[in-house]
């Protein structure tokens, strides 16, 4: 089983800040590691998957946590 994903709390941040925080943090994870971005900005649900597509990272889907929308991203490279 996979370990619990690392959590990046971007609640209260407006777009494009959650995507910027994701881009800063993901390279710090080992390849294959999963980052859960908590973001309540309405653009995050669209822009996090779009960023993954542009950057060749894997978007795993939405997993709400702590009462906030969460978006799981796996570092592929």
């Amino acid at each position: 089983m996979n370990a619990e994903p690392e959590v990046l709390d971007c609640r209260g941040q407006r777009c494009p800040l959650p995507v910027i925080a994701l881009a800063r943090r993901l390279p710090g994870l080992p390849v294959g590691g999963v980052l859960r971005v908590l973001a309540d900005d309405p653009a995050a649900a669209n822009d996090i998957p779009a960023w993954c597509r542009l950057r060749g990272q894997e978007y795993l889907g939405r997993v709400d946590a702590d009462g906030a929308p969460g978006f799981d991203v796996r570092r592929t490279g």
């Binding site: 494009p16 995507v19 881009a23 309405p42 653009a43 669209n46 822009d47 779009a50 960023w51």
Partner: protein, 393 residues
């Protein structure tokens, strides 16, 4: 740098009607000089109520009839199929609401693309509705659309002729065929196409907005073809009339008709020039701005419109920086919307919504202004990224 031509000008000041750097034609164009002239004449001659039987009323009626006939000719329909509304939004809503009401016995469901204008989406959402997805380029899935209109209980289908946000032309002819096969009327929001591109036949009702082709604001066009069941959606409206009740702004209607005739005559010639200018923007933006996503169909699109998103850039900051450089553009980023939600069109396509810019060129745009835009844009984006500390991310 200040605009060369200053603000929009009145009659008799030549062909150029807009300030330079105005790249938001999809929101509305400055009033065409031909429309100014026609409006001035109509204001002097057609001030009376066209419903009255005395001489001044009859004169106003003549002007109204002539304007309606001119609009009908440009739209290739009969004059009694053309209705006049207070806005394109009112016309689009009336098309959907009126057909849905008239077809209640057949069903109440409205099938629509995910990228309709919000006026259509709101109207559709007042009852049962089915939203058909679009692909990454912003084109509706014609197969899924056909399946949805073939289901029982469908009152009507609604499809925008071309996306007002990303320019992608929609498969109207194919969708019209599947609607006809299913016996479902098709409503087309043609606000971005009328006066620019031919709209394929096969629709039952169509809406448009005069300000998008250089007519004055406040004139919406509602076309309902003969034989299509449509109930006036306004309280107290005459059963036979398509016009929105209330006093018509007759000079504006006359100006709208004059402008449409003028722009339609030039549209074919300008289409190629605009298409090439937008090709130039698409190519140069992709080549000169790092981490940019140029969206929409690169070929089968509106001739004058292109949308792109700049990674890690705040859309509102980009809009203001371009404004300071003398360029008026639009954005689908959430930070530029009163709702603080990203554009539903960009969301439906799954493309980046932040750092978003929509450029839509007026027909008389100076290509040197396009080049100036392309020259300043990379530096503006680079500066904003440097300020945000996202360079190299």
């Amino acid at each position: 740098m200040l605009g060369r031509h200053g603000r929009g000008v009145g009659p008799g000041y030549g062909r150029v009607v807009g300030p330079s750097g105005y790249f938001d034609a999809a929101a509305g164009l400055p009033t065409h000089p031909v429309a100014w002239q026609a409006m001035q004449a109509a204001a002097g001659d057609g001030w009376a109520d066209p419903g009255k039987l005395y001489a001044a009323g009859r004169r106003a009626r003549q002007l109204l009839d002539a304007a309606r006939a001119a609009l009908a000719e440009q739209l290739r329909v009969r004059p009694d199929e053309v209705g006049l509304c207070a806005s394109g939004t009112a016309a689009a809503q009336a098309a959907v609401r009126g057909i849905r009401a008239a077809r209640r016995r057949a069903g109440e469901t409205v099938v629509h693309s995910a990228i309709e204008h919000s006026a259509v989406l709101h109207e559709a959402a007042s009852g049962p509705s089915v939203s058909v997805p679009v692909d990454r380029l912003g084109r509706v899935d014609a197969g899924a659309f056909a399946a949805a209109v073939g289901a029982p209980g469908v009152a009507l289908a609604a499809l925008i002729s071309a996306s007002h946000e990303v320019g992608t032309v929609q498969p109207l002819a194919e969708v019209a065929r599947s609607c006809a096969a299913a016996g479902v009327p098709l409503v087309v929001d043609a606000a971005q196409s009328v006066g620019r591109l031919p709209v394929p036949d096969g629709w039952s009702a169509l809406s448009a907005s005069a300000r998008k082709w250089g007519g004055p604001a406040g004139v919406g066009i509602l076309v309902v073809r003969k034989g299509v069941r449509w109930t006036p959606p306004w309280p107290g409206a005459e059963p036979a009339g398509l016009d929105q009740p209330g006093g018509l702004n007759l000079p504006a209607v006359v100006g709208a008709a004059a402008a449409l005739r003028a722009v339609a005559a030039e549209a074919a010639a300008q289409r190629d020039r605009l298409h090439e200018l937008v090709d130039r923007i698409r190519d140069r933006v992709a080549a000169s701005v790092p981490d940019v996503e140029v969206v929409g169909d690169p070929v089968d699109r509106l001739p004058h419109l292109v949308t792109f998103s700049c990674l890690y850039v705040d859309g509102e900051a980009l809009l203001h920086a371009l404004d300071r450089a003398g360029f008026a553009v639009s954005s689908g980023s959430s930070c530029t919307a009163s709702t603080l939600r990203p554009s539903h069109v960009l969301e439906a396509m799954g493309v980046l919504s932040h750092g978003n810019v929509r450029v839509s060129l007026p027909s008389d745009v100076d290509s040197a202004e396009v080049d100036r835009f392309l020259a300043v844009l990379p530096g503006i984006v680079a500066d904003l990224r440097a300020e945000a500390g996202v360079v190299g991310l």
